[in-house]
């Protein structure tokens, strides 16, 4: 995998920014294997432009793997992922951003973390950087070393750093997993805001309340398969698959 990343990053230089929208997303017969196990087991999926898509499912269901594949960080074993007709890869990834389940912050100051992305994606912009820091409630921590911050503060920084690249698609892998209620509210407000700006958000969460507040549609994963893909309106009150029903009822889903 390191090989692929090295090559991808090198190829990243040559990527031209297309202006066409990236949606719809089409996934057909997607599988991904590791250690002889099919961890993504034939997934087909269509995502439209509308709203936030929430991905739910028990631990180890394959949620993080799936969004890595969609983001083009992993190569499918079989099957196809296309964003508005373009295969997922360097080209599509250039206009997407991802906040990882464990945020990876650069060993620099808080503001330098955002500056790095701004420079990469167009040019330094101290005003916009300060605005982003304020949105994350980190204005007074701008000069601190990023990795000396608390876990929750690091997650908020990772979130606004992802926004700094002005992505068309934003993947969020449990962005509020270790946050206090005020910070959760802050992140959810950011998600709602970028959604209004037309960004497609794909959100992985275990927080049913949050999913209910934000979701337009819900993809429920179970053992590497899509157990159901349902509009939010009916998912929470009337899930159609039994794993989702058990999960929402708080039963252990294996």
């Amino acid at each position: 995998m390191a090989d692929r990343l090295a090559i991808d990053a090198a190829a990243g230089q040559a990527i031209a920014r297309s202006t066409a929208g990236q949606l719809p997303l089409n996934v057909l017969g997607l599988t991904w294997k590791a250690g002889g196990k099919r961890l993504i087991d034939v997934i087909s999926l269509q995502l439209g432009d509308g709203g936030v898509t929430v991905i739910m499912g028990p631990n180890g269901a394959g949620k993080s793997l799936l969004i890595r594949l969609l983001h083009g960080l992993l190569e499918p074993e079989t099957g196809e992922i296309t964003w508005n007709g373009e295969r997922a890869g360097d080209g599509t990834r250039a206009q997407q951003a991802m906040v990882f389940q464990k945020p990876v912050l650069l060993r620099r100051s808080v503001s330098a973390n955002i500056d790095f992305v701004l420079k990469l994606k167009g040019g330094a912009d101290p005003t916009y950087r300060d605005e982003l820091l304020a949105r994350a409630g980190l204005a007074d921590k701008a000069r601190q070393p990023a990795r000396a911050m608390s876990g929750g503060e690091q997650q908020r920084l990772a979130m606004v750093r992802a926004l700094a690249s002005k992505p068309q698609v934003l993947f969020l892998d449990e962005p509020t997993a270790s946050l206090d209620p005020a910070s959760v509210h802050m992140i959810e407000t950011m998600i709602a805001d970028v959604r209004k700006e037309g960004v497609k958000v794909v959100l992985v969460t275990h927080d049913a309340g949050q999913a209910r507040r934000l979701a337009h549609d819900v993809v429920f994963l179970h053992r590497g398969r899509v157990a159901e893909h349902t509009p939010a309106a009916s998912f929470f009150d009337n899930p159609s698959s039994s794993p989702a029903r058990d999960y929402l009822a708080g039963k252990i889903v294996l």
Partner: protein
């Protein structure tokens, strides 16, 4: 016994007065070893970065080679440099043998593998940590290497200090290509090696004290770098 006490007294006197000859020897030592470190950094850092961030055929073999070269005995390096620089050698026409330049070349050969191998390790660890985030951001290769070097600065400085420590303390390479000529190529280690056998214990001891002090300072610098790195969550 009397002699030893006298030698120590004289040595401390030399150090405290910073005797001219002593100062010249120390200055040359520092100039030679610091220049050698600078050269090894110019070659070893980019090479280490290349090895850390790219995959190519033969990389594994190159890694083994560089790691093996870390353990090169200084006298062997001295011998090789001597053969290169002597009149019969390929670089003989430059007439560099028994000059400080020859000593710099020999020490650079000695520590470049150390700087390469250690910086490769430091950069590869950080690269592993950053790889997925950088892939997500589509960071071009050159930017990635630059960011790795900046963010690993404390670790890389420690690497350079290790190289300097090795260079300034070695005697085998500089004595063969330098020759310990007074006022020209005499550095601390060669002076200690040869003045001791000639009976000038005081000068040898004085130089020994300075060398020890330098070794201690290098270690203190490494320690404070580590503390700074920890304080700013660089570790």
């Amino acid at each position: 016994m009397q002699d030893f006490a006298e030698a120590f007294r004289l040595a401390f006197h030399l150090v405290s007065q910073m005797d001219d000859e002593l100062a010249a020897i120390i200055a040359l030592s520092l100039r030679v070893s610091l220049t050698a470190v600078a050269i090894s950094a110019l070659i070893g850092l980019p090479l280490g970065a290349l090895l850390a961030t790219t995959r190519f055929r033969g990389r594994g073999g190159l890694l083994v080679l560089v790691n093996a070269l870390m353990g090169l005995p200084p006298v062997v390096v001295g011998l090789l440099a001597y053969m290169m620089l002597s009149n019969a050698g390929p670089m003989g026409f430059l007439q560099l043998l028994y000059t400080p330049t020859a000593m710099i070349i020999a020490q650079a050969i000695l520590i470049t593998p150390i700087v390469t191998a250690l910086s490769r390790q430091v950069l590869e660890d950080l690269n592993t940590e950053y790889a997925e985030q950088f892939a997500s951001l589509s960071v071009p290769w050159a930017t990635r290497v630059g960011a790795l070097i900046v963010d690993a600065r404390y670790g890389l400085l420690t690497v350079l200090l290790a190289g300097f420590g090795r260079a300034v303390a070695e005697v085998g390479a500089v004595i063969i290509v330098g020759g310990n000529i007074a006022h020209l190529t005499r550095v601390m280690t060669t002076a200690i090696a040869l003045e001791t056998s000639k009976g000038d214990l005081a000068l040898a001891l004085a130089l020994g004290i300075v060398l020890l002090a330098i070794a201690l300072s290098v270690n203190a610098a490494v320690m404070s770098l580590r503390l700074t790195a920890e304080r700013t969550a660089h570790g």
